[in-house]
């Protein structure tokens, strides 16, 4: 690297790191923006976000469960008055009187009708049974309400069919058991259990990553670009500690604030899950079946630190090129967005922490948290994830130290971003390389 001031005297000194770290932290705790973003928001905003999500979900599902399906029946089948009665008395349906099939189809498309139930005479061998029919249900699969109508109509007709078969069988002296070779009993229990799993498996990890990233954001800008803007950068750079010590202290600072945000966030989930969301779910007739396993907390806390270590490192690398706080924010924001991309992977159903995934930053740690929350522990893969994260952190500290040794960055004459920096470096003839 050109222009480095690395030398044998530039070693890491933990005593210096400690003094520098204390200074960073002390100033941070006196900075309102940092306290709000790194401590208050993860604690207070978190339950609110979850509550909002949940309320949204229960509202939407409640809507599709509570509404009445508007159904058109162009022609009733001969000899089945009971079917008609059954449909008419079912409060989940209203029957729309429309004779013209074309008009009915148009209404279905327009969304003013949810389903069409047609009865046609049976054909072929099936026609031998008097009164037999073929029921045909038309729905618009793109609309939630119409899909719901399809389900309900199908259930209803199926139920009627079974009653009919039993009745006919009795009349002909055949027991129902002989008729019914196969029966299918369906019950939808997914909504109950999955509500808890959904919160823990998807919403919680996403918010967790967002909180850690937010926790890292301000400290990362503050201790690099912010320091330059305040004019303390040169004071620090002309003071005793080696560049490596300075970077290590700053990195420790960013990671611990980000990690703290993550931990507070997790502890808040653990504490608020039952008291806040239990009643909310109970009102909708659902129960929160998955509680937070307390055993998961240590794993999750380690994950918080690792995640902060990765995100903080990335943010510092970008912010170190900025001259002002504003510039720093602008440079970090794209990275901030990128950190949220791996979280989208979590939407893939059945994703588990494999050795391969354990090597991918953010994904590994987030999966670790998710599995721990659901009580699963893949210890070897978790080990890999931890090692991969630590290795990454070492690399980043080295890189950041190298960058800080570039005098352009210290003197602040550098104009622009990471990209500009490397462009300038490669276009120009690089000065002779000094020791690594």
């Amino acid at each position: 690297m050109s222009g480095t001031t690395q030398s044998p005297g530039e070693r890491l000194k933990w005593a210096d790191v400690w003094v520098l770290y204390q200074r960073e932290l002390r100033c941070a705790l006196r900075e309102r923006a940092i306290v709000i973003n790194s401590i208050l928001i993860p604690v207070l905003l978190y339950p609110f976000l979850l509550w909002a999500t949940l309320t949204g979900i229960t509202y939407v599902t409640g809507q599709s469960e509570g509404f009445v399906c508007r159904v058109a029946v162009p022609r009733w089948p001969e000899g089945h008055p009971k079917l008609r009665l059954k449909l008419e008395h079912d409060s989940r349906f209203t029957i729309v009187e429309l004779a013209d099939l074309a008009a009915v189809t148009n209404q279905l498309r327009a969304g003013t009708l949810d389903g069409i139930l047609e009865f046609n005479p049976a054909t072929g061998a099936a026609a031998a049974l008097p009164g037999n029919f073929v029921a045909r249900i038309t729905s618009d699969g793109l609309r939630e309400r119409s899909s719901e109508a399809l389900e309900r109509l199908r259930d209803m007709v199926d139920q009627y069919r079974q009653e009919f078969v039993r009745r006919e069988g009795r009349r002909r002296g055949i027991s129902a058991a002989e008729w019914q070779v196969f029966t299918l009993q369906r019950e939808n229990t997914a909504t109950q259990k999955e509500m808890g799993a959904f919160i823990l498996g998807l919403v919680a990890p996403v918010i967790f990553v967002v909180m850690v990233a937010m926790g890292c954001f301000y400290p990362a800008v503050d201790c690099t670009a912010g320091e330059r803007e305040r004019g303390t950068w040169e004071t620090l750079m002309s003071s005793g500690p080696s560049r490596l010590s300075v970077v290590a202290a700053k990195y420790l600072y960013v990671t611990s604030v980000g990690g703290l945000a993550g931990m507070l966030n997790l502890v808040t989930i653990a504490l608020t899950m039952k008291p806040v969301f239990g009643p909310l779910l109970a009102r909708t007739g659902k129960t929160l079946e998955t509680g937070i396993p307390l055993a998961a907390l240590p794993v999750a806390l380690v994950a918080a630190v690792l995640l902060a270590g990765f995100i903080g490192a990335g943010m510092m690398l970008f912010a170190v090129f900025a001259r002002t706080f504003k510039e720093g924010q602008a440079m970090i924001t794209p990275f901030y967005m990128v950190t949220l991309v791996p979280v989208m992977f979590l939407q893939v159903p059945g994703l588990t922490l494999t050795h391969g995934l354990a090597l991918i930053p953010i994904v590994n740690v987030t999966l670790m948290v998710r599995e721990a929350l659901s009580g699963t522990y893949h210890w070897p893969q978790m080990g890999v994830a931890v090692l991969a994260s630590l290795a990454f952190m070492v690399v980043v500290i080295r890189m950041a130290t190298g960058l800080l040794a570039v005098e352009d960055l210290i003197a602040g004459s550098h104009n622009g971003s990471l990209l500009n920096y490397f462009r300038g470096k490669f276009q120009r003839q690089p000065s002779p390389k000094s020791q690594p």
Partner: protein, 251 residues
């Protein structure tokens, strides 16, 4: 004996995107002894700050060498930094620290013996009359108070070498005079001091030797009496103009 500050054939060339190569410092050599104030006198862009930044290891020389208390700025930058106090318009204080915390912090990171830091901090607070606002945050202090805290932090670790880059810029007359007084006291304590300025009267009053710097070069370097004798001018202003124009005419 190597003098506390020694600069030999120092050059610094910047690669500036707009201007191309900028020769900020060219072949500059000087020394500064203990108990001496060495003045760097030059107009804007003369290369004073660049020279002093190299001395404080913020920049690396393109060629030549510089040492502080016998430690080379490139070979042992950490050693150099612990032995000097660097103060300039661009070395601000941490606004969220109190005055006391500031002095304590800089004493510690510059390697002042940990067990003596407390006593040192109290000594400096008393010496600079900071006591009344020692526990107030720096951001809340007036310019004059900040200046005192900045002085205290510069000497927090009791360094043998002090570098002041235009320290009186932006200060009112009273504060500027106070600053000069304190720097003279440091000299009396035996510190080797480099003092850069573009204000003639300041250099005249304070400096034991003056280097006239222009366009990255030192054109003349002597005591005020020596400069007067060499140029036949009495006022430093005229000496400065004469030295600078004399050097640039032949080119």
């Amino acid at each position: 004996m190597i003098p506390p500050i020694r600069v030999q054939q120092l050059s610094k060339t910047f690669q500036d995107e707009g201007r191309g190569e900028v020769h900020a410092v060219r072949d500059v050599s000087f020394e500064c002894a203990a108990g001496e104030i060495f003045g760097l006198l030059g107009a804007n862009g003369a290369g004073k700050t660049t020279t002093l930044r190299i001395l404080s290891t913020i920049l690396k020389p393109t060629s030549g060498s510089a040492s502080v208390m016998g430690h080379d700025v490139q070979a042992a930058p950490g050693e150099v930094r612990c032995r000097l106090g660097f103060s300039s318009a661009t070395t601000a204080l941490y606004p969220r620290l109190t005055a006391r915390e500031t002095i304590d912090f800089f004493a510690r990171i510059n390697g002042f013996p940990a067990d003596k830091v407390k006593a040192r901090v109290e000594h400096l607070i008393e010496r600079f009359g900071i006591g009344d606002y020692a526990n107030a945050r720096v951001e809340k202090l007036s310019q004059g108070m900040k200046q005192k805290v900045a002085l205290a932090r510069t000497v927090a670790h009791d360094p043998p070498v002090l570098i002041f880059d235009e320290p009186t810029v932006g200060l009112d007359v009273l504060n500027a005079v106070e600053m000069q007084k304190v720097i003279a006291e440091f000299r009396a304590e035996g510190k080797a001091i480099i003092f850069s300025t573009h204000i003639m009267s300041e250099a005249e009053k304070l400096c034991d030797r003056i280097a006239i710097m222009h366009g990255g070069r030192i054109h003349a370097c002597d005591t005020l009496a020596g400069l007067r004798a060499a140029t036949g001018e009495h006022y430093l202003e005229n000496i400065f103009i004469k030295s600078v124009t004399a050097a640039s005419t032949p080119q």
